[in-house]
């Protein structure tokens, strides 16, 4: 199994994802279609994806930490960034982007936050890596690579300029 993805390999995954997004059905021409990256890795991926699209989309970032269901267990993360959605969420077709999909809880938190900005017409999910271990019925519409990792390993993305990823041992038990 590959344990490291260099910038060229990440670029290849992103180009495939951008191509899949452009050929995806269902984006309503009449409404806004926008990318929403989840801080911080998802925001890096969303920005990189947008650069690889033939026609860039409006781009927003979301920090879903105020919406997580494990606040009581993990406490408040330091340096939470304000969410910025520079378009009208009401009636928009949103492409939610994250770097890694695991339990699905971050995606749930992000969707809860999106609905506090308005009622989107649709939400689709794009992730760079899907490492399974789902705890909620959430799946990605477009995925760069599906991995099967032991419970004590996680894939971590570094960036934001040069995106690289590697499999790391789990820290702090989360």
């Amino acid at each position: 199994m590959t344990l490291h993805w260099n910038p060229e390999q990440i670029d290849s995954l992103l180009r495939d994802m951008a191509s899949a997004l452009e050929s995806m059905d269902g984006a309503d021409e009449a409404g806004t279609t926008a990318l929403v990256g989840i801080e911080s890795g998802g925001a890096w991926v969303a920005r990189a994806l947008n650069e690889r699209l033939g026609k860039p989309l409006p781009l927003g970032v979301l920090d879903a930490n105020f919406y997580r269901d494990d606040f009581e267990k993990r406490g408040l993360k330091k340096s939470i960034k304000p969410s910025k959605l520079p378009f009208d969420v009401e009636g928009a077709h949103l492409i939610l982007v994250d770097d890694v999909l695991m339990t699905g809880r971050t995606i749930r938190a992000a969707m809860n936050e999106l609905f506090d900005f308005g009622r989107p017409a649709s939400i689709r999910l794009m992730v760079l890596f899907d490492i399974g271990r789902r705890e909620l019925p959430i799946r990605a519409d477009i995925c760069g690579e599906v991995l099967s990792l032991p419970a004590d390993q996680r894939v971590e993305l570094s960036g934001p300029e040069k995106l690289e990823a590697s499999v790391q041992a789990v820290r702090n038990g989360h």
Partner: protein
């Protein structure tokens, strides 16, 4: 009532997280910066279609106001509601304690209602410390102003405002003008500015409105407004607290305005891009002229907006600290049973 003990011992968990928020004395610069950074995440919540985040959903916040206040009470109430907490506001001056119930009886009753946080405003210095030392574990206490001692959330919203407009504190000269003697806000502002690294903090007031230990406050004292305001980046005007003056400390309000009231003419001596702040409510024509209060350099209303975000930050960090304390306690008990 006992005066404030060293605040870090009461306010912080063993690993340095905020547990109560009572005073800025002895708190660290990283912690204050953490509060400001967390508040930045909350500022935009007020502009959303749904002005709420679910962080304190299911928690109960009790506003205990032993001293009347409209603005502070309503911003704390709004901050708690924007965090999705259930909020109970008690005007204690008019309720149980006036029927003979002691403060401790009142606290025990509120704890029995499963309160998670007390926001306390009290006319006596040290009252929130006393309450923080008496409450059961898992209840956070936030000081919303005690006597002449401290008003830490007001000072932090002022720091947020300064950082927002000036980018930081390095090299900043800040003047605090007016009734320093009665102002818990001024005391907390001076602590905050010194901790956060402002270059110079000045207090400007007539001798009768300066505390006897003014020099020990950590600020340079001026009794001449024009000299004091020279070349400053920030002017913080204080409210003349007429209700706290039990003796004739001033010849007249007109005389005070002439010597210490902020007019455009006096403001010319500050830096051209200086901002003007005021904790409110303002006495127009007493400590500040309307032309300044409503003028382009005034950020007084922005202070109010930022105040909600800063209070949201402090409340969520204190609840988070209590949760981590409870988790550590549970882990200790579990390992104890394990042996």
């Amino acid at each position: 009532m006992t005066l404030a003990p060293p605040s870090s011992r009461v306010q912080l968990t063993d690993d340095g997280k905020l547990r109560h928020f009572l005073s800025l004395e002895h708190l660290s610069r990283p912690l204050l910066e953490d509060i400001l950074d967390t508040a930045a995440g909350f500022v935009d919540v007020g502009g959303r279609a749904i002005k709420k985040v679910p962080l304190l959903r299911g928690k109960t916040v009790v506003n205990l106001f032993f001293e009347s206040s409209t603005r502070t009470r309503s911003t704390f109430e709004l901050a708690a509601k924007r965090l999705s907490a259930d909020v109970l506001t008690l005007d204690i001056a008019k309720s149980a304690t006036s029927k003979g119930e002691t403060l401790l009886d009142t606290l025990r009753n509120l704890e029995a209602m499963a309160a998670d946080m007390f926001v306390v405003r009290h006319q006596d210095s040290g009252a929130p410390f006393f309450i923080a030392e008496q409450v059961t574990p898992r209840v956070a206490v936030i000081n919303a102003g005690d006597g002449r001692h401290a008003h830490p959330t007001q000072a932090m919203l002022d720091m947020y405002t300064i950082r927002h407009y000036k980018g930081g504190f390095e090299g900043l000269k800040v003047a605090i003008v007016g009734d320093i003697l009665h102002s818990r806000v001024a005391r907390s502002q001076i602590h905050a500015l010194n901790i956060l690294g402002a270059e110079e903090v000045r207090v400007i007031a007539p001798r009768t409105l300066l505390p006897a230990d003014a020099d020990a406050l950590g600020a340079t004292v001026f009794t001449d407004m024009v000299q004091g305001i020279e070349d400053v980046d920030v002017v913080i005007m204080l409210r003349l607290q007429k209700e706290r003056m039990d003796s004739a400390l001033l010849p007249s309000e007109g005389e005070f305005f002439r010597l210490y009231g902020l007019t455009n003419e006096k403001l010319c001596h500050a830096k051209p891009d200086a901002i003007v702040m005021h904790p409110g409510p303002i006495n127009r024509g007493v400590e500040i002229a309307s032309e300044v209060a409503d003028g382009p350099r005034s950020v007084i209303l922005n202070q109010v907006t930022f105040g909600i975000a800063v209070r949201m930050a402090v409340m969520s960090m204190a609840i988070s600290g209590q949760e981590s304390l409870a988790a550590a306690q549970a882990a200790r008990e579990e390992s104890g049973h394990g042996h």
